[in-house]
Every structure is written in structure tokens, then in C-alpha cells.
């Protein structure tokens, strides 16, 4: 009994220790931002590998999620003769929840894990130590550009995911199931608010998710034990922790913005 309480205490302490380390790391990242402003090229390069290369999976997933929403929504609404509200159903689910959340989860799997692995491998192969010995700060040269690029990419990806999802829903509802096109869009427009739904949903949520997803990914790489096993553990932790934190954060944000 006493032993299990102690184990709980140890776990809590270890968690706090890691959280403290991650916070210090974040401060280091923010401290390197000034130096980064002089080198926008570094961010562009990372925007390519984090944003552009994530585009296919984001676009495909958005399309399918939108199409599924269209089908499911139709199947449920058709019994009440309310298929004209399908546009509302599809758009609200995407804009408020599915767009930012799924985009963040896909981002963690596609880009976050790669980020962790890349930084972890740079650590294993002494590239980071070498950079330090060359008097180049890895925070300014390696960590901060990746963090900032990811932070910029996340809202863009979430926006693309959501927009393509709405188009996917439109395709299924209007082209396949014969819902009236005008009703689809006008019902959607009537109930989706720019500030209340689009800004509070996609924009703010994806900014928050981008912050934590990239923080976790870069930190896990930085903190990885420099062995092949350590890196594989770190990549796994990136995906798992990002998923957990994003979903928990989503609950909090939903409660704040959309809770009654």
C-alpha cells in the first residue's frame, strides 16, 4: 500500500520534472526568436517539410471526413425531412471540432513524429554538439525554426482540412444524394458564424494545437535518449502525448467557447 503511494509520488515528481524541463526548453525557444527574425529562410525550409509535405494527407483526410459527415448526416436527417440542414451539420462539426482536432492529430503523426526523429538523430550523430562547438546555437538554428514553422503551418493545415471537408460534404450531399445546393449553402451560412464558429473554432483551436503539438515534438527530440531505442520511444511519445494533450485541450476550449 505504502509502496504504491510512493510510486504514485515518484511518477508525479517525474512528471513535474519533465514539465519543468519542457518549460525551460520553451523559454529557450522563445529566447531564440529574435535571432530567427534575421533568418526567415530557415523557416521557409521547415515550412516546406512540415507544411507542404503534410498537405496530401491533410487534404485526403479532410475530403473523406467531409464525405462521411455528408453520408451520415443525410442518413440521420432524411427521416425527419431535414436534409436541407445537412450543410449546417457538416460545416459546424468540421469548423468547431473535427477540422482543428483531426488536422492536429494527423499533423502529429505525419510531421511531429518526423520532427522528433530528425532532432533525435541529429543528437545521436553529434550534429547538435558539433553545432554548439561551432558556436552556432541549436536553439536558433534548429529548434526555433522548426517550432515556428510548425506553428505557422498548423492553422493553415487546419483551414485547408476544414474547407476541403466542407467541399467533400457538399459533393456527397448535393451531387450524390440530391440535396438542394442552395439550401445546403444558405442553411450553412445562416448558422455558421464567422467569429462564433470559424474564429473560435478553426482559428483559435488550431493555433493552440499548433503550439502544443510543435512544442511536444521538438522537445521530445531534444530530450530523446541518444540511442536508436531512445529515439523510437521519443517518436512514440510525441504522437501519444500530442494526441492526449490536443484532445484534452479541445475539451477545455470547447467548454469555454461553445459550452452553455
Amino acid at each position: 500500500m505504502l509502496e504504491s503511494v510512493r510510486r504514485l509520488g515518484r511518477l508525479a515528481l517525474r512528471f513535474l520534472q519533465r514539465l519543468g524541463k519542457a518549460t525551460l526548453f520553451l523559454l529557450g525557444l522563445l529566447g531564440a526568436l529574435a535571432a530567427l527574425c534575421k533568418r526567415p529562410g530557415l523557416i521557409v525550409k521547415q515550412l516546406y517539410s512540415l507544411g507542404v509535405l503534410s498537405l496530401p494527407i491533410i487534404a485526403m483526410s479532410g475530403l473523406f471526413v467531409g464525405m462521411v459527415l455528408g453520408l451520415q448526416g443525410y442518413a440521420n436527417l432524411v427521416d425527419f425531412g431535414a436534409t436541407s440542414t445537412l450543410g449546417t451539420v457538416v460545416a459546424l462539426s468540421l469548423v468547431r471540432e473535427l477540422g482543428p482536432v483531426l488536422a492536429a492529430l494527423l499533423y502529429a503523426a505525419r510531421a511531429g513524429s518526423a520532427l522528433t526523429a530528425e532532432i533525435g538523430l541529429m543528437k545521436v550523430t553529434e550534429q547538435l554538439a558539433c553545432m554548439q562547438m561551432m558556436a552556432v546555437d541549436p536553439f536558433a538554428r534548429v529548434f526555433a525554426p522548426r517550432f515556428v514553422a510548425g506553428f505557422i503551418a498548423m492553422p493553415l493545415l487546419a483551414g485547408i482540412f476544414t474547407a476541403i471537408g466542407v467541399l467533400g460534404g457538399y459533393f456527397v450531399a448535393v451531387k450524390q444524394l440530391g440535396v438542394d445546393s442552395g439550401a445546403f449553402w444558405s442553411q450553412m451560412q445562416a448558422s455558421v458564424g464567422l467569429v462564433d464558429d470559424v474564429i473560435k473554432g478553426v482559428v483559435i483551436k488550431s493555433i493552440a494545437f499548433g503550439w502544443v503539438a510543435n512544442w511536444i515534438a521538438v522537445f521530445e527530440g531534444y530530450d530523446a535518449i541518444p540511442t536508436s531505442e531512445g529515439i523510437s520511444l521519443a517518436t512514440t511519445r510525441t504522437v501519444v502525448n500530442t494526441a492526449l494533450v490536443v484532445l484534452a485541450l479541445d475539451f477545455v476550449l470547447t467548454a469555454i467557447f461553445f459550452g452553455v
Binding site: E126, A129, M133, M134, A135, V136, D137
Partner: protein
């Protein structure tokens, strides 16, 4: 120079050493890596630090480079105490130090050319045409001018190390630290590297520190050798002097003898006791 076992006095082979290490102690957890180590690295010479694997030779280089801090003692590089410098001064000092890592540590996302140009682009505001000239000069010095478009993954181990060497001399440093430059290389590559290290040292007026356990190659170019074992300096002197050392340990290490003061066995209770053959207490 006479061979002194366990140097208590501070050995200063030259008048104004570039690096002096005094009473250095460093431990990792409870494991002692260094205990009261004194070293002096003379300017313009090649100094080798040799010892068996796992004696913390790489750690010593990292201590000199200021990447980790000693628990006691001090390290002075060119008159400045490394671990007392602020971040800015340390980075200024590091621009004049250079280190060749064991793996080469080339940046895998950059080509050979961009790797060599990296320190120039980071630390200077030279126009690209200037950087190109300098980079090609450094690549020519290591014989890799033709390989400049290759990516690090396309290089052999020896080529990677030469490319890393070209990068290490890009900023014309005052010193280079070589971490195991010969390990895992074929004889021809080793020969090339040995010659390269010597040539660069003399041509550029560098101070070189080689950390290695490859006795033959290191002894062939080193001007002065420190032998480290179990966290302290066992012996030091010129290669010739060490050759005639009467210390059993030095002889065993330099001539790669399997038997000698250094045991093949990790400390253990007697074999018979472990196998439960002996009666009574076998462990001292």
C-alpha cells in the same frame, strides 16, 4: 624527458601552453571520470591524449570545449577560463576552436559544399562568391573538391571525416580537437588522415589535440603524448620517451600486449568461487 608515473607536478612541456588543465575532477553520477588531472597543450604542436576505451577522453574534449562543466579544477584556453566565461564569450572562443567529431557529424540535410560553407555563412557576412572560393579552398585541402555536390549519406567513412575536417578548418581556427579520428578506418584512409592532420597542423599553424587509442598512427604524428587511465594521467612525454618507459602499464598499452598491469578481466570474485567450486571465502 623522463617518464613519471602519476604526475603530481604540473607538466609544462612548452613555455606558453595554449590550454592548461589543472586539478580537473569530473564525475558522472557516482562514477569518477577524472580525478586531479593536470595537462598542458603546447601551441603549434600535435598533442595526443591516449588511453583505453571508456576512460573519458571524449569527455575531456567536451570539457575543453565548454560543453560540460568540471566538478573541480579549472581549464584555461588561450588565457580564458572556459567554464567561467559567459555564453557570449564562450561562443566567441568557440569560433576559434574546432572539433572533429568521431562520426564526422556532418549535417545530413546539407551537401558537402553546404556543410563546409556552413560556419562561414553562420559567422561571416561574406558575399556568396567569397564563400564559394573559401569553401573550395578548404575542400581542395582535404582533396574533396570533386565531391562537393554529394550528400553526407553518399560518402564513405573516411571521406565523411575529411569533409568534416574541411568544415572544421573553415573559419581558420587556432586549434582543432580530433575525437578518435582513426577509429574504424581502413589502413589507406588512416594513412591519408594521419598525413592530413600533420600537414594541416604545420601549414595552418594550428594546435592539434588528438584523442585516440590507435597507438601506431597517433604516435607517428604526435609531438607529445598524455596517457590516461582510470581518471588520471598515467604518463606523458614525447613518443620516443614513452617508447622507453619502464612502466609496465605504458608498455602494455603502447605495444598492445594482452597481459600486464591492466587486467583482461573486469573485477570479479575468483572464477572458482563464482562457479561455486571453491570452499570457504574466496573473495578478498
Amino acid at each position: 624527458m623522463s617518464a613519471v608515473t602519476h604526475s603530481a607536478a604540473i607538466p609544462i612541456p612548452d613555455a606558453a601552453p595554449l590550454i592548461t588543465v589543472r586539478n580537473l575532477s569530473f564525475r558522472r553520477g557516482s562514477r569518477i571520470i577524472f580525478e586531479n588531472v593536470d595537462l598542458a597543450i603546447p601551441r603549434g604542436k600535435i598533442t595526443a591524449i591516449m588511453g583505453p576505451s571508456g576512460t573519458g577522453k571524449t569527455t575531456l574534449l567536451r570539457l575543453i570545449g565548454g560543453q560540460i562543466r568540471p566538478d573541480a579544477g579549472r581549464i584555461d584556453v588561450d588565457g580564458a577560463c572556459v567554464h567561467e566565461l559567459g555564453r557570449r564569450e564562450l561562443y566567441q572562443l568557440r569560433k576559434r576552436m574546432s572539433m572533429l567529431f568521431q562520426s564526422g557529424a556532418l549535417f545530413t540535410d546539407l551537401s558537402v559544399y553546404d556543410n563546409v560553407a556552413f560556419p562561414l555563412r553562420e559567422h561571416t557576412r561574406l558575399p556568396e562568391s567569397f564563400i564559394r572560393t573559401l569553401t573550395l579552398m578548404k575542400l581542395e585541402a582535404v582533396g574533396l573538391r570533386g565531391a562537393r555536390h554529394l550528400m553526407p549519406s553518399e560518402l564513405s567513412g573516411g571521406m565523411a571525416r575529411r569533409a568534416a575536417l574541411a568544415r572544421a578548418i573553415a573559419l581558420d581556427p587556432m586549434m582543432i580537437m580530433y575525437d578518435e579520428p582513426f577509429s574504424g578506418q581502413d589502413p589507406i584512409t588512416m594513412g591519408v588522415l594521419v598525413k592530413l592532420i600533420r600537414t594541416l597542423n604545420d601549414a595552418l599553424g594550428l594546435t592539434s589535440i588528438i584523442v585516440s587509442h590507435d597507438v601506431k598512427e597517433t604516435a607517428s604524428i604526435a609531438d607529445y603524448i598524455y596517457l590516461i587511465s582510470d581518471g588520471s594521467v598515467v604518463d606523458h612525454g614525447t613518443p620516443q620517451a614513452l617508447e622507453h618507459s619502464r612502466s609496465g602499464w605504458v608498455e602494455q598499452f603502447l605495444h598492445a600486449l594482452p597481459d600486464g598491469p591492466m587486467s583482461f578481466h573486469y573485477p570479479a570474485p575468483t572464477y572458482a568461487h563464482d562457479l561455486a567450486l571453491a570452499e570457504g571465502p574466496a573473495l578478498a
